[in-house]
Point group: C3
Chain length 151, copies 3
């Protein structure tokens, strides 16, 4: 087990996987922050402390909350497949420099994506950063399938 | 490969990862159960067997179905990052007792979270159990990044 | 690390995990395709190039877009747990033929599921393919928990 962590590519994978998973996890507190500041909740028990007439008003959707939730959802759709494929890619034994290039581009693209999404920057900021991330993932998947195909 | 499973920490990880993933998977049959008992579907083909006048009435959302779906979504947002980070954490070679403490607290917190959510227990049941789970995940991420940082 | 990839079961796992993750990732471009052809967007910045009177009309939901999004969500709920449990299952050292059987049935069931969902085939096409996939996952989870239980 320790031999895996002695491998530099595996350590690079571990670092970047932890970074992008943490980035994804932080979307949950951000959603909570928007829910509280915008006053937009989805569960009865979340507004039980408020006065009765106020409750109904707080059980609503708010554009800012929906935006940050879509951003979170996009992270789930892209970051988790990246982590899975990056693990398989790492185990095919790529060059450290090539692997780092993939991991750095992906992590950078997802940070750009989150900023573009949450701040509603004009397109194609968000579109491009999403595209760069998914192409990096496809490139790793190509390496994995061309190295170890057993159907 | 067998050497991984001879390691006790890895076996503990395997056990708890399987348990929390299974718990997450069981939300799907639970959603199906609520959809059928509450009569709230989202696809035309799911209500094709009913009489024509009944169909439109069944294509709707129902608060109980939406609640169990939000609970499922919260599992996806928290359980999958836990499994990813717990794998990396396990490979850094922690003490068995510390690892078990993390895994047990997380699994317990998610079971409390699901019960609080589906039964709509008053806050802060759900909020606290979510918080305990995410803090356990952050603690593992801290250990991973402080042990094997290669950027 | 190379020893993992010399193992045939692990190579089979790698191949099928990459295939189902890729299938899941391809739902994102498919959603984009439906959004553009159906003219149904969810972000202001996505329609900023259009004339002002057209913008509001394009910020809407469309049944076809919602259908492909539900299909994507179902992939997330089923494919990611499969990949996690299949990794643990592979590390328990199963027979190659048994492992291949699990992986092939799951991959086939998810492809049938996507076709049934996107093309809105009459039930029970979608229900059955979903059921086959989740039963395969449960079968692997049973093997994992019965082989390496450490609570």
């Amino acid at each position: 087990m320790e031999t895996l962590m002695e491998n530099e590519v595996f350590r690079a994978f571990t670092t970047y996987a932890a970074i992008v998973i943490l980035k994804m996890l932080l979307m949950a507190p951000l959603t909570a922050y928007y829910r509280i500041t915008r006053g937009a909740f989805s569960n009865d028990e979340d507004v039980a402390m408020k006065a009765t007439e106020e409750r109904k008003k707080l059980l609503r959707t708010h554009p800012d909350v929906e935006r940050v939730r879509r951003c979170h959802q996009n992270d789930i759709e892209n970051v988790i497949p990246f982590v899975g494929l990056a693990l398989l890619y790492t185990l095919t034994g790529p060059e450290l420099s090539t692997a780092l290039l993939h991991f750095r581009i992906f992590a950078g693209s997802r940070i750009c994506h989150t900023i573009s999404y949450v701040c509603a920057l004009p397109q194609p900021c968000r579109g491009l950063s999403w595209m760069v991330g998914i192409l990096t993932t496809f490139s790793m998947a190509y390496r994995v399938l061309s190295t170890v195909l057993l159907i």
